[in-house]
Every structure is written in C-alpha cells, then in structure tokens.
C-alpha cells in the first residue's frame, strides 16, 4: 500500500476536523496536491462498501460512518438541535437561494422572521453573513456554511435535494423586488422590516463578499 495513501488515511483518521486537500498536503510536509487528491480518491473507493466512508463536504474531507449503520448507532441522547418550523424553512430558503437578505426571506415566507430564528441558525454554524447587498439600505445577506454541507451530508450546494427541478420550474429565480412592485404586490421593504432586526444593526460587519 502506497505510503502517501496510508499517511492521508492516518491523518484524516486522527484529525478532529475535516481537512482540505491543501491542508493535508501541508500537513504531510508539502506533498503534491494532485497526489493527495488521487490518494483521497483511492481511499474513498476503498471505503465505499465498508462500515465507514471517506467523504468530501464543501472541499473538506472526513471519515464518517456509513448511512445504513444509522439504526445501530443512533444515540440515545439527542445530539442534533431540534429546529422550529420557521427555522427549518428559513434555512431551506437560504440554502436554495443564497445569498439572500432577510427581506427576501420574508418575501418568500410572507411573514416577518423573528430575530431569534437567524440567530439559532448562526449559532448552529449553518449560516453566516456573506456581506451586504449593494442596494439602498445595504442589507446583510446570508449564505450557508461548510458545516451546513457537512451536517446534512452534501458534497456541495449542487447536491441539495430537488435543486435542479426547482430551478427549472423558476421557483429559485432571484426574488425580483422590482417585479413584485410592478405587480403592485408589495413586498416587505428592506428598510421597514428591520425595525426589530437586531442583526441588521451590525454596523461594523465588513462586507467580504460581493453579492452575485
């Protein structure tokens, strides 16, 4: 068995967090990224049918138990945060539309979002602020994180269930406020909705990401 493959296997097994190809290469004393990548593919293939698997989640790799072992391993004490219906909906809207502003989320749900809802998702590490939209009011926009992909077992956002069908049906089209206005369908105004929006008051948030 190739030494690099063994080294990658050992490193990922020992690591407390998922690792990128680059982090692995650096840890392995500057191995070539291409070699690390092919070692990962060889390992993922080896573990395909076993009780554990090697998976990639948002460019980070880790070992995890095979899904069909869930019935044996499911823990007595609930380790997974129970989310309210509002929080699951908001999470889905962010995942399928990202990046989105709070007003856009509210436009889809037709209801204001309680302040705690976004906080809960941020605290879970599943969403993050991804800059500000360059429109009047410069609202904060939200996107999902690598932890989100990891937690829900998605290699990337493209793996979101039903993404293609929803897109084909036009249901993921950008929430076009202008169109809503033209239809006299008033959508919650960015400026109005944040009367209670503590999250928006975050002035020193630095926009690190240019909105699409």
């Amino acid at each position: 068995m190739d030494d690099l493959v063994r080294a990658v296997e050992a490193t990922l097994f020992a690591s407390e967090a998922s690792m990128s190809v680059e982090a692995l290469a650096a840890h392995l004393g500057g191995a070539e990224a291409a070699d690390v990548r092919s070692a990962l593919i060889e390992l993922a293939d080896h573990y395909r049918e076993r009780g554990i698997r090697l998976v990639e989640r948002g460019k980070l790799w880790h070992f995890e138990t095979a899904p069909d072992m869930a019935h044996l391993l499911r823990r007595e004490r609930e380790q997974v945060r129970r989310l309210s219906r509002a929080a699951t909906e908001v999470l889905a809207i962010i995942a399928y539309h990202e990046p989105v502003s709070r007003a856009e989320i509210e436009s889809i749900r037709g209801v204001q979002t309680a302040k705690g809802t976004l906080d809960v998702l941020m605290e879970a590490g599943w969403i993050r602020m991804a800059g500000r939209r360059e429109v009047p009011g410069r609202p904060v926009i939200y996107a999902t994180t690598t932890e989100f992909l990891e937690h829900f077992g998605l290699a990337s956002r493209r793996d979101l269930p039903g993404l293609d069908e929803l897109r084909a049906a036009g249901l993921l089209d950008p929430i076009d406020e202008a169109l809503e206005d033209a239809m006299h369908f008033e959508s919650p105004d960015e400026g109005d909705s944040d009367c209670d929006a503590g999250a928006e008051a975050d002035d020193d948030f630095i926009s690190d990401d240019s909105p699409a």
Binding site: E64, R85, A95, I108, P161
Partner: protein
Amino acid sequence: MAGAQPLALPLPLPEGEEDWTGPAADKAGERGDDDALYLELDGWEGPLDLLLDLSRRQKVDLRQISILALVDQYLSYIDRAEALRLELAADYLVMAAWLAYLKSALLLPKEEQEEPSAEELAMRLQWRLQRLGAMREAAARLMARDRIGRDIFERGAPEGLRIDRKNRWHSDTFALIQAYGQVKARTAPRIYQVRDRMVMTLDSAIDRVSAMLGVTLEWMDLRDFLPPHADPSLRKSALASSFVAALELARLGRAEIAQDEIFGAMRLRRIAR
C-alpha cells in the same frame, strides 16, 4: 392598516410562537364540524402559510388550484374565526381584504379591469404559494437527510493533530554590536552646556539708573538709560532690568515714574531730597 391600499399585500407581522410540531391544538376543546382548521389559528406562520395549507386541501397541483375557491375558503375561515371571537392578527385581516378585492376584480368583465389585471395578480399569488410550498418541502427533505450526530458519526475519539511551532532565532553580529552602541549612547551621561548670554543684572541696572538720575532733575525717557550701541539681546535684557530698577527706585522713594498713555513712553525723574 385600515387605510392600506387594497392591492397591497399586507406587510408581514412578527411570527408567533414557533413550533415544529405544527398548528397548535385546540385549547378550548371545541372542534369544528368539517375540520379543525379555524381553531388552529396560532399554528399558522402568517396568511400566506394559511393560504398554502388551504390550497393543499384542494388536493390538486398548486399550479391548478382555483383561486376563487381559495379566496372563498380563506374568507370563510376568517369569518368563522371572527364568529368565535378569536383574536385575529391584523395581517390576516388585511389579506382577507385584499383577497376580497381580488375576488371582485376576478368577477369583473375583463375590459373593465385595471392594469395589472386580476388574472395576473391571481397568477402571482399562485406563484408565491408554489414558491413557499417548494421551500417547505425542501426544508422537510433537508431535515430528513442522514445527519451528522444523529444518523452518521464522525470518529468518536480522534487522536488530534498537533503542530508544534518551533522558533529558530536569527540575528547577526552587526545588529548585536549596533545594539550595544545604542544602549551605550542612550545611557551615557550627558553634560549640558548653556551658552553665556550678555545680560544686565538688576544690581547693575539700579546702579546705572540711579547714577544717571543723579545728573539731572528733568524727566528722562526710560530708553535713554539703556547702554547705546548694545547688541539687541543685551538691549532687551537691559530694558527689563532698567524697568525693574525704576520700579525699585520709585518704591524706595528716590524716583517718580510717569506714563502719559498706555504703551506710551515711560519717564523717570529724581525726587529731590
């Protein structure tokens, strides 16, 4: 809200108690005849949510629902809630008003309709319901996935990777010697020298002024007491000293001082004894 434009969809209100288990159960124990819908008010996440649920009850694809039937269902729901004197959030009522308007517009002959047409508004509402429905299903599918910590587990006791940073320090001889020189230069005792300046002391000014005053009984300008041809710094010092000398002589009663105006020439005269 009362004055809201009929065509405006109500602004969302803050959502109430969030509960994943869905609409709250009827607390009063009263059940309606057909279904418990109208008693489950607290469970809806706003009017759009209620509309979505009502349209699902039509048991057809969301793209084929009857908007007119939906409007009727919504309005009868609101009526029944009001009959039971349930407190309705304002946005449900505004939605009811908007839907009532939409219904009347839909029933009008086409040529009498304004832009945008009622059909367009209805399609728009339908599309919004579809979009919300899609997100709700997506959320459910997401939550049903095999999740880390519930269905799938990472290694329970990873050994952990540790990176120990080790510093290798670098310096050179010149930096060393230079640093020593700087310490020495910084801490070397320093001798401060103040250059001599030509000054007229107060004592010599008193001697000079009283000697010159002794010559005459006439008024003399203070400036006339200063040594002629002195360099400017000495002259400055002599002026100050002579002024103080004049004050001193006046205090001792040996001279009097007069000044006609502020900043005017100061004159001095001996007091004859």
